[in-house]
C-alpha cells in the first residue's frame, strides 16, 4: 500500500438511509432468490424455462407491451423521484399515490370500463386534489406537513377502497382489472395503456430537459427563484402534475400500495452513487427502468406472482447492492479502507519504534534486535516478531532470526513518520500554543496522514527547525536521502 493513501479518509459520510431501509434491502435479496427458484419449475416440465424464453424473445405482443410499459413507468418514476428525494419530498409521493385511488374508481365509473384515459384523468385530478388539501392544511392550520400528509393519505385511500368494493358489486360492471390497481399486474398492460404511458413519459422527459435549470433552481431555493422572475409556481405545479400522472401510469403494474417505492428507492440508490444532481437523475431513471423490467420478468415466471412487490423488491435489491458495494461510501469499501488504514498505521508505528531504537544507538548498527524493539515497545519478543514479520511481508524490513533491519523503502518511510511527528509537535507548541506535554497524542494521529506538500509547508513555517520540543533531531528530507544507516550486513554483535 502506498503512503499517503490514507489522507482521503472518510469525507463527510452521511447516513440518511438508516438501518430500516437496509433491513428492507437485505430482506428483499433474501426473498428474491427463493421466489425466482420457486417460479422456475412452476407447472409441469420446465414450463418456467419456456416462459423465460418467451419473455426474452419479445415476439409475443403481450410481452412487448409489458417490457415497454415497465421500462417507461420505471424510468419516469425514477427520474421524477430523483427530484423528490433531493427535495425531501419522499412522503409526498406516498400521499400522492394513495390519494389517486378514488380517482381510479371515478375514472372507471365514468363509462363503466377500464378506459386508460378516463382513469388517468380521474386519478391525476384526485392526486392533485389530495396534495392541494395537504398544502391548504399546512397553510391554514397549525398542523405540520407530516401530519397533514398522513391524514390526507389515509382518508383518500379509504374513500378509494369503499368505491372499489362498491364497483365490484355493481351488476353491470366488468370490474375484472380493477384489483390490479391495488397490487399491480404488469401483464394487464395493453396497447391503449402503453400509448398513455409513452405520452406521459415523453412529456416528463421533455419537461425535465427543457426546464432543467428552472427545476433545479426552484428545488434548491424557491423563494430566490421567484425573486429572479423564474416561473417558480408554474414549475412547481407542472412538476406535481407530472408526478401525479407518472404515479398513475405506474399504478397498473405496481399498485397503489407500493408505487411510492418506485419514486423513492431508485432515487435513493442513485443518491448513494453520486453527488451530482444531473447524474443522480440519469441513474435514478435507469435504475427505475431496470427495476420495472426486472420485476415484470420475475412475475412472468410463474402464474399469480404479483408484479408490484417484485418490481419493488428488485429496486430494493439494487439499493442493497449500492449500500454494500457502492464505490463511494459502500460498506465494503469503508470496511476495506478502514482495515487498510489500521494495518498501515500499525506498520508505520513499528517502523517508528525501530527508528527510535536505531536513533538511540546513534545509527551505529545496521539492524536492531527483536529484544531491543520489545523493550522499546513494552511488548514480548513474540509480539514484536509478528510485527517484524509483517514488515518483512510488506517489503519494509528484513527479519533474519532475531535481527530486524530496514529495507531502503522502510528506512525512508520510518524517517518520514518520525519527521512528521516531530514537525507536528513543534508546530503545535510554536504556532498553536499547545503545551509541550500535550502534543504527543495529536502528533501520533497526524504523522500518518501528513502529505509531502503539507510537510514542505510546515518546514517553511517553522524555518526548517532541526529540533522538536523535546530536543530530538527532526530528520530533514536531505537526511532521508543521504543516510544509509540500517543497511543489512553492517552489524557486528
Amino acid at each position: 500500500m502506498k503512503a499517503g493513501r490514507e489522507t482521503r479518509g472518510g469525507g463527510g459520510s452521511r447516513r440518511r438511509w438508516g438501518a430500516a431501509r437496509v433491513a428492507t434491502a437485505v430482506l428483499a435479496a433474501a426473498l428474491l432468490l427463493p421466489w425466482a427458484h420457486a417460479a422456475a419449475p412452476a407447472g409441469p416440465d420446465g414450463e418456467g424455462l419456456a416462459q423465460v424464453w418467451r419473455f426474452l424473445r419479445l415476439e409475443d405482443a403481450a410481452v412487448r407491451h409489458v417490457v415497454w410499459g415497465t421500462l417507461l413507468l420505471g424510468g419516469t418514476c425514477g427520474l421524477l423521484g430523483g427530484f423528490m428525494v433531493v427535495r425531501r419530498m419522499a412522503l409526498v409521493g406516498d400521499a400522492l399515490s394513495h390519494a389517486v385511488l378514488p380517482g381510479v374508481a371515478a375514472g372507471f365509473l365514468w363509462n363503466m370500463s377500464r378506459d386508460p384515459v378516463a382513469i388517468l384523468v380521474g386519478a391525476t385530478v384526485a392526486g392533485l386534489v389530495g396534495t392541494a388539501f395537504v398544502s391548504a392544511l399546512c397553510r391554514t392550520t397549525r398542523l405540520k406537513e407530516d401530519a397533514a400528509l398522513g391524514l390526507v393519505l389515509a382518508s383518500f385511500f379509504a374513500v378509494g377502497l369503499c368505491l372499489l368494493s362498491i364497483i365490484q358489486r355493481l351488476p353491470a360492471a366488468n370490474a375484472a382489472g380493477l384489483s390490479h390497481f391495488l397490487f399491480g399486474q404488469a401483464a394487464a398492460i395493453g396497447p391503449a395503456d402503453l400509448r398513455v404511458m409513452a405520452i406521459v413519459a415523453g412529456v416528463v422527459v421533455l419537461f425535465v430537459v427543457a426546464l432543467y435549470k428552472e427545476l433545479v433552481a426552484v428545488s434548491f431555493d424557491a423563494a430566490f427563484a421567484r425573486s429572479q422572475g423564474l416561473p417558480a409556481a408554474f414549475v412547481h405545479h407542472a412538476f406535481m402534475f407530472l408526478l401525479a400522472a407518472s404515479v398513475v401510469i405506474a399504478l397498473q403494474a405496481v399498485g397503489v400500495v407500493l408505487v411510492s417505492a418506485l419514486l423513492v428507492t431508485p432515487a435513493a440508490t442513485a443518491y448513494l452513487l453520486t453527488r451530482r444532481l444531473s447524474r443522480l437523475l440519469v441513474y435514478a431513471a435507469l435504475l427505475g427502468a431496470v427495476a420495472g423490467l426486472g420485476g415484470a420478468f420475475l412475475s412472468f415466471l410463474g402464474p399469480g406472482l404479483p408484479t408490484g412487490p417484485l418490481i419493488v423488491l428488485v429496486a430494493s435489491a439494487t439499493f442493497g447492492g449500492a449500500v454494500l458495494f457502492g464505490t463511494r461510501e459502500g460498506w465494503l469499501v469503508r470496511f476495506w479502507r478502514q482495515r487498510a488504514g489500521v494495518g498501515q498505521t500499525r506498520r508505520e508505528n513499528t517502523l517508528k519504534s525501530m527508528y527510535h531504537v536505531a536513533e538511540r544507538e546513534g545509527f551505529a548498527h545496521a539492524g536492531i534486535t527483536l529484544e531491543e524493539l520489545a523493550t522499546r515497545r513494552r511488548q514480548t519478543v513474540e509480539e514484536v516478531r509478528a510485527l517484524g514479520a509483517e514488515l518483512h511481508r510488506h517489503g519494509m524490513a528484513r527479519l533474519e532470526r532475531d535481527l530486524l533491519s530496514f529495507t531502503p523503502e522502510g528506512r525512508r518511510r520510518a524517517g518520514e513518520i518520525v519527521r512528521n511527528h516531530r514537525l507536528w509537535e513543534l508546530y503545535l507548541t510554536r504556532s498553536a500554543n499547545f503545551a509541550p506535554d500535550h502534543v504527543h497524542d495529536h502528533a501520533e494521529k497526524i504523522e500518518h496522514v501528513l502529505g509531502e506538500a503539507a510537510v514542505r509547508e510546515l518546514e517553511r513555517r517553522l524555518d526548517h527547525a532541526r529540533r522538536d520540543p523535546h530536543g530530538s533531531v527532526i530528520p530533514s528530507a536531505a537526511d532521508l536521502e543521504r543516510s544509509n544507516w540500517g543497511e543489512p550486513g553492517g552489524r557486528a554483535r
Binding site: 469525507g11 426546464l211 431555493d221 453520486t274
Partner: protein, 263 residues
C-alpha cells in the same frame, strides 16, 4: 440613472409607501414608508420579530401584503425583478442539496439567461469573478454540503453578485461569520455602493452597524427612524426601537460611549 420615465425628476430607486403585512391577521409591519436614492448602504436594525425579514420578503414580492406598495424606479417589482437582488437567511435552504458552489452562483444569472437556455461561457466567467470577490474561487467545484457556515454565507453573496443587480436586500449576511470574513463582506458591500448600488442589510450588532452603514432603518412593527447613521443612531431612538430592553440598552450605551456619543 436608468429609469426610463417621462418625468424630468427621476423616481427614487426604492419607494415604500404605507406597506402593511400581516400573518393570519396579526400585523407584523404597519404602514412602513421609505424613500431612497442610488448608492446607499442601509442597515436595517430592530429586535427579533421586529419584521425585518418580513419587510425584505414583502419588497421582493415573496409574502402577500395587506396594503401599500413598493416601487423600484417607479415601477412594481414584477417589472424590474432581475435588477433587484436577494440574499436570504442561510437557513432557508437545504445545504445537503447535491449541487456545487458554482451551480449555486450560476443560479444568480438564471433570471437574465431566460427560459430554456443553458448558462453560457460568459455566465460562467461572471460567476467565477463573483466567487473570486468573496474569496471562494478555490471552492468552485465543491459540493455545497461540504462548506462551513461562513462559506455558505459567501456563496449566497456570490450568487447575488452574479445577478449584477442594482438594489440588494440581504438578510443577516453576517450571521455566523468570523471577523475576517465579515470585513471582506463589508468591503464587497462598499464596492457595490460606490458603483451606485443601493443595499439594504439586516444586521444585529449595534456597534458595528454604526461603522458599516451610512443610513440606518430602525424598525419595530413600523419605522421608528430612518436617516443618515449620524442622525439616527441615538440612545433615545434605539431605546424606542428595542423597547428599553436592558442588555441591548447597555450595549448601545457602550457603543455610544466608545465612539464619543452621537456626532
Amino acid at each position: 440613472m436608468n429609469a426610463p420615465t417621462a418625468s424630468p425628476v427621476p423616481p427614487p430607486v426604492v419607494e415604500i409607501h404605507d406597506l402593511t403585512v400581516a400573518y393570519r391577521r396579526k400585523p407584523v409591519l404597519w404602514g412602513v414608508d421609505l424613500t431612497i436614492g442610488p448608492g446607499k448602504l442601509v442597515g436595517i436594525i430592530g429586535p427579533n420579530g421586529a419584521g425585518k425579514s418580513t419587510l425584505i420578503k414583502a419588497c421582493m414580492g415573496l409574502v402577500p401584503t395587506q396594503g401599500g406598495w413598493v416601487r423600484f424606479w417607479g415601477r412594481p417589482f414584477g417589472e424590474v425583478g432581475s435588477r433587484v437582488g436577494y440574499v436570504p437567511q442561510r437557513e432557508t435552504v437545504d445545504w445537503d442539496f447535491p449541487v456545487s458552489v458554482m451551480d449555486v452562483v450560476l443560479m444568480g444569472r438564471y433570471g437574465r439567461i431566460g427560459l430554456f437556455r443553458r448558462p453560457s461561457r460568459a455566465d460562467r466567467e461572471a460567476a467565477r469573478a463573483c466567487l473570486e470577490q468573496v474569496e471562494l474561487l478555490p471552492y468552485a467545484d465543491r459540493q455545497i454540503s461540504n462548506l462551513s457556515g461562513g462559506q455558505q454565507q459567501r456563496v449566497f453573496l456570490a450568487r447575488a453578485l452574479a445577478q449584477e443587480a442594482e438594489v440588494y436586500f440581504m438578510d443577516e449576511p453576517f450571521a455566523g461569520v468570523d471577523a475576517a470574513t465579515e470585513a471582506s463582506i463589508v468591503s464587497v458591500l462598499r464596492t457595490l455602493r460606490d458603483r451606485g448600488c443601493t443595499l439594504f442589510v439586516v444586521h444585529h450588532d449595534l456597534p458595528t452597524a454604526r461603522q458599516y452603514f451610512d443610513h440606518l432603518l430602525l424598525l419595530n412593527l413600523n419605522v421608528v427612524a430612518f436617516g443618515p447613521t449620524a442622525e439616527v443612531f441615538t440612545a433615545e431612538l434605539l431605546q424606542r426601537t428595542y423597547g428599553g430592553r436592558l442588555t441591548l440598552l447597555s450595549e448601545v450605551a457602550q457603543a455610544l460611549g466608545a465612539q464619543g456619543g452621537p456626532r
